[in-house]
Amino acid sequence: MGQLEWSTDEWLRHLTALPGVAGYEHVSVPEFEKVFGLFADKVERDKMGNVLAWIHGTGPEPRPRALLAAHLDRIGFLVSRVEPGGYLRVVSVGGFDQRTLPGKEVVIHSKPPMNAIFGTKPPHLQKKGEAERVIPLEDLYLDTGQPESVVRRRVPVGTMVMLRQPPVGLLKSRLASPGMDNRSGVAVLVRTLQALRERRPAWDVIAVGTVEEEDGQICVGARTSAEGLKPEIGIAIDVSHGDMPGTREGDTVPLGGGPSLCMGANIHAAVFDGLRSAARAIGLPFSVEVTPANSGTDAMDIQIASLGVATAVLGIPCRYMHTGVEVVEPRDVDRCATLLAHYLASLEPEWRATEVLK
């Protein structure tokens, strides 16, 4: 029945099409709720906009909880002002790679939506040396081609702007699209929920589509959802840097090599060991990614929420992060979900992250 039998490639195409920068995730939340609802026992939204999808465990009450977090927000822009001539200025939400913007097409999410282009000066009008500089965002502008009166009427300050770039199939089933960060993580949640329905764990598992990971210094959704749920274990699923030329040994993980298991202060040793053992037991390829202090994911905020949480991070290899051509291999997404489902099913009902010595 349609989405129940979708391939991962279809899921990625569907999920990367949904807009939603940090703080504006709510425009797509009904769809996320519907998607999670295909497989979860219960779906709800908390007051900060996080989407929580529950799989009730089989163990005796009170059941410990495992939180799986994948952030719903993606990078994009907000209109900051309309200028004479109808040109629009924007601010960045979440760190889009500014070098890649000149000349790109965008969708302005006004009612109704309008298309626009990041305008550029033609070469013969540029000053000497100008072409050697990266254009900062403050100097970029959007051109809708429409008269100023139309733009002023239809596009209020604060309107969301997303890059307009449909997914592109590459060789080896690889897929390039904006929003792989982190809709590929959301796809992992969907696949994991699907697997857990078949093979229920003893623990309660809550897959959370978190808000506002990309913007600001705090992952707001991760922090607030962990405060509300108080899980024993929290695993963040996010993209990792896939192998690319010009990088150092140890800085990337191989595309097609399966999920990466992060290792560092943000990772609880027992959860890491459990994930690694589960991967080895089922012969699943994976790599180890060393993140000494900061994993740069929702797990940073989950770990220190409430009384503390045992956290881990699973990475989906992704090339060219924070551009419109993020490349992911769907097989890595599947492997990530398979690993999670196996690991969660292996959790003993009595295990707790706190050890009582006396």
């Binding site: 940090a22 703080g23 504006y24 709510h26 709800e44 939204r45 908390d46 007051k47 900060m48 996080n50 929580l52 009170p62 907000l78 209109v79 900051s80 002002r81 200028e83 601010v91 960045s92 939400v93 209020p156 300050v157 604060g158 506002e212 913007d215 600001g216 210094q217 705090i218 707001v220 922090r223 607030t224 959802s225 405060e227 509300g228 749920l229 108080k230 409430s306 009384l307």
Partner: protein, 349 residues
């Protein structure tokens, strides 16, 4: 003639100059307590926040305004009787030059800066270039300004045409607006908590803990937003009304709180502007992520920096901010179903 309760002029006159650097907000706390006497129960918490509770039926609403103002702390006294300082708060070093610093016990000193001999400034100034001229020799200065003394940049309220001018308008003007709104309000269909926060200048510290303790269902934060120098083309202008903050660093308006503010502005016929920027930070960012999160909206009073200690605020924007907040407080909440995550408490805190 006694000014009517909720008079902004009277509140500004007492709040703007009140002693209250970050972490030592004693004077402004007392001034607020006096101004709000009889309105409701007040208390001071561990960080120095001033809480005012107006119990009522209805959802718990939190109204926030920072009350601290930029200050300095003495780091050492030197052989000439001058004192080296560290700045407390977001004020740039250059802006503090020439200010008088007031200490809690009445001592005063002058923020000074020695220009390099060559006459050329080499790069951005920071607090290590500044010092306090105390007027005393080393022995006397060490006694009167011991290491750790905390002072506030002196603030004097002045009116220039239609605009207020003072160095502590950020955020004494916000605090005055909130106090005025509370004093002018009749019956409020909420369980209202007001927090005048401490240590806001040090990274919204008071807001973080204050909001956590209250666990509100929605929050409104009133602050100043400096919207650029006169020559900038900022879309926000002084005199065109208060801003509703849509986005700042670490803050996005919650859709429901935003809607509430928009509706109140319309009903009160208050013209509003919208604030969208990558930088800037206020207590709103801290309040919204307290505990399991709080739907929050920022009301930002447009202000202009001058390059020196003083900021400028349009008097009309301030009055309209009060009108907006009064209407927000008076409007019963829309009974929109917000699905709540079930959070059964499982021991611990």
């Amino acid at each position: 003639m006694k000014p009517r309760p909720g008079s902004l002029d009277a509140l500004l006159k007492t709040l703007v100059p009140a002693y209250g650097p970050p972490g030592r907000e004693t004077g402004v706390r007392a001034a607020l307590r006096t101004a709000l006497r009889g309105v409701g129960r007040t208390r001071e918490d561990a960080l120095g926040n001033l809480h005012l509770h107006l119990p009522g039926s209805g959802p718990r609403l939190l109204l926030v305004a920072a009350m601290d103002a930029p200050g300095v702390i003495v780091t050492r006294v030197e052989s000439g009787g001058t004192a080296r300082i560290d700045l407390l708060g977001g004020r740039g070093a250059a802006e503090a030059i020439g200010s008088t610093v007031l200490f809690a016990d009445g001592e005063r000193a002058l923020v000074a800066y020695d220009r390099p001999a060559s006459g050329k400034e080499g790069g951005a100034l920071d607090s290590s270039s500044l010092y306090l001229a105390t007027g005393y020799d080393k022995t006397a200065a060490s006694k009167r300004f011991p290491v750790g003394s905390v002072g506030m940049l002196e603030a004097r309220l002045d009116r220039l045409g239609d605009q207020w001018r003072a160095s502590s308008l950020d955020n004494r003007a916000g605090a005055a607006a909130v106090a005025a709104a509370v004093l002018r309000s009749g019956r409020i269909p909420y369980d209202l908590h007001v927090i005048f926060t401490a240590q806001s200048e040090l990274g919204s510290r008071g807001a973080m803990t204050g909001a956590f303790g209250v666990e509100p269902e929605m929050a409104v934060v009133v602050e100043l937003a400096h919207v650029g120098e006169a020559k900038d083309q900022s879309p926000v202008t002084l005199g065109e009304g208060p801003c509703i903050g849509l986005k700042e660093h670490g803050y996005i308006a919650h859709p429901q709180a935003l809607e509430m503010a928009r509706k109140a502005a319309k009903a009160a016929r208050v013209p509003i502007q919208y604030l969208v920027r990558e930088e800037g930070s206020s207590d709103a960012g801290a309040v919204r992520r307290a505990g399991p999160g709080v739907p929050t909206v920022l009301i930002a009073i447009p202000a202009r920096k001058t390059g020196g200690p003083d900021s400028l605020v349009h008097a009309r924007d301030l009055e309209r901010t009060v009108d907006l907040v009064v209407r927000l407080l008076a409007t019963p909440p829309v009974p929109k179903p917000v699905p709540r995550a079930r959070t059964p408490r499982r021991g611990g805190k």
